[in-house]
């Protein structure tokens, strides 16, 4: 299988804090790869570097063989890599439908002149909404389509964020704790949705999670990060049986 995302010895320091300290990983096409590690391990920072929000101090990041380290977030998204945020960042003052309709790429109406090509804008809005409505149904958010995003529950906001990310039509999705704040039912739904999208649409996922049932059930392989560095990598069984990993997690 081909590698879609590859990080090679990525470094990102904040002053004296070595948030990402020579981390490397490979994400295979159509995999659901897990990234775990104790709090402060550097997972979110690694996502921020991969998505262009931070520039790496050193190291390379290749997406489909192309160097993306140092590009802007919008450029990286345009190439097919979309990320979500650990703390759900729904655009609260916008409705659910506006949130998801914001995302599609290359909309005709996204320029001041394109906005006046009436027929095409209307047609695209209809098509995008069809897609979005189906996804919202899937996520159980369709009833809330006309609500302001700020009125959703924490779990619903997470789901909205994932839906919105999918609407950018990415090849790989980087999900930062997609089930944080979600109820048991919502967590199950999110897990099922991730697997469905991988199976039906051939999407690739890189998932940071704390909930072990999520990680061990759907992720393979799993990377373990500690102090910004690679600690271990393997399938769920390997990781569960790894002594070092246990020590890091149990603080032992």
């Amino acid at each position: 299988m081909a590698t879609i995302l590859e990080a090679k010895e990525v470094y990102k320091y904040f002053g004296g804090i070595k948030a990402v300290d020579g981390f490397s990983m490979e994400v295979e096409n159509k995999s659901i790869t897990g990234l775990i590690g104790p709090n402060g391990a550097g997972k979110t920072t690694f996502f921020n570097v991969a998505a262009g929000i931070y520039q790496p101090d050193r190291g390379d990041i290749f997406f489909k063989g192309e160097q993306i380290g140092g590009l802007r977030p919008d450029q990286i998204c345009q190439k097919g890599l979309t990320r979500t945020f650990q703390i759900a960042r729904g655009l609260g003052e916008m409705t659910v439908w506006e949130n998801v309709m914001l995302a599609p790429k290359a909309q005709t109406g996204e320029s001041p002149f394109g906005a006046f090509i009436f027929k095409r804008v209307k047609k695209e809005e209809k098509e995008n909404w069809e897609k979005a409505a189906a996804l919202l149904q899937e996520m159980g958010l369709y009833e809330q389509r006309n609500e302001y995003a700020k009125n959703l529950s924490a779990g619903q906001r997470k789901m909205l964020e994932i839906t919105r990310a999918i609407m950018t039509d990415p090849e790989i999705l980087l999900l930062d704790e997609p089930t944080a704040g979600a109820t048991v039912d919502e967590t199950k739904k999110i897990m099922a949705e991730i697997e469905r999208l991988r199976d039906e649409k051939g999407l690739t996922f890189l998932v940071v999670e704390h909930k072990m049932e999520v990680i061990m059930n759907i992720c393979n392989p799993i990377y373990v990060m500690h102090n910004g560095q690679n600690l271990a990598v393997g399938d769920p069984k390997d990781i569960q049986g790894n002594k070092q990993v246990r020590e890091v997690y149990l603080g032992g």
Binding site: R72, T82, E98, M101, E124
Partner: protein, 313 residues
Amino acid sequence: MEFALTIATIVAIYCILGLALNLQFGYTNLPNFGIAGFFAVGAYTSAILTVPHRFLEMEIFAGFPGGVPGRIEAPFIVGILAATALAGFIAFLIGVPVLRLREDYLAVASIGVAEAIHYIALNELWLTIGSAGIRLIPMPFANRILYFLLVLLVLAIVFYVINRLVRSPFGRIWRATREDETVTASLGKSVFRSRMWAWVIGCAFMGTAGSLWAHYAMAIQPGEFVPTTTFLVWIFVIVGGLRNNKGVLIGALLIIGLFEQGTRFLPAFGAPYVVPALRLIIIGVMLIIFIRFRPQGVIPERAMTIEKHIKTI
């Protein structure tokens, strides 16, 4: 009647300024404290392009006894288009360095630019004739009713264009940028580009308003383009309801029409400065009351349902 027409024309011109500010600050969170500057760019551009080649002030104050070379006596339509374009272009030049920074810097930069423009109007005699101002600016139709209708037409166009943009996918990016730049960028949208357009389009329309003002007043002076103008616009936009274009029109009617202009012809009492001072105080009190008790303004922003959106986009 004459009096009502005057107020109506002024209110309509202010409405254009308010809609432009609402586009910038309401929808995109770009604080423009230099409204008077872009208004002045429009007024002066239009005046300079259309004014007669020779007139007395130029000969006396600016020292061009034979008239100023290069005055082209262009028609009104050239004046208003050039006013719009130049105001937009100046906004673009400011935007290139400033819009990459945080929004706060724009507040400071826009004040600076307005001051610089005021300074040019005062001091570049060859261009603006300084504090004496430019007179004999031609009014198209030379009929105040027709001119008022023209202003209304321009207002309607500006209203329509801004509303359409705000509702379009482009406007969604503006509103997303206002709330969270990082999220917007992570969804593949260029925050810089979206802000730049809001900034340029808004300032361009302020230039349009300036041109309309110059040809209505037929004479302009640097003293008209001062921060008070800017703050009046801010006040009625906030009172009317940020992010709601209809609210902006109502705010302009209330603040500019009723109080700022409507009270101008009240019988004076007490010392000569009492009435103007009272007007400003009343406007200030209204602003405070609104911010305290109705921060969303007369008409707050309303969300549209997706069903209505698909039907009407």
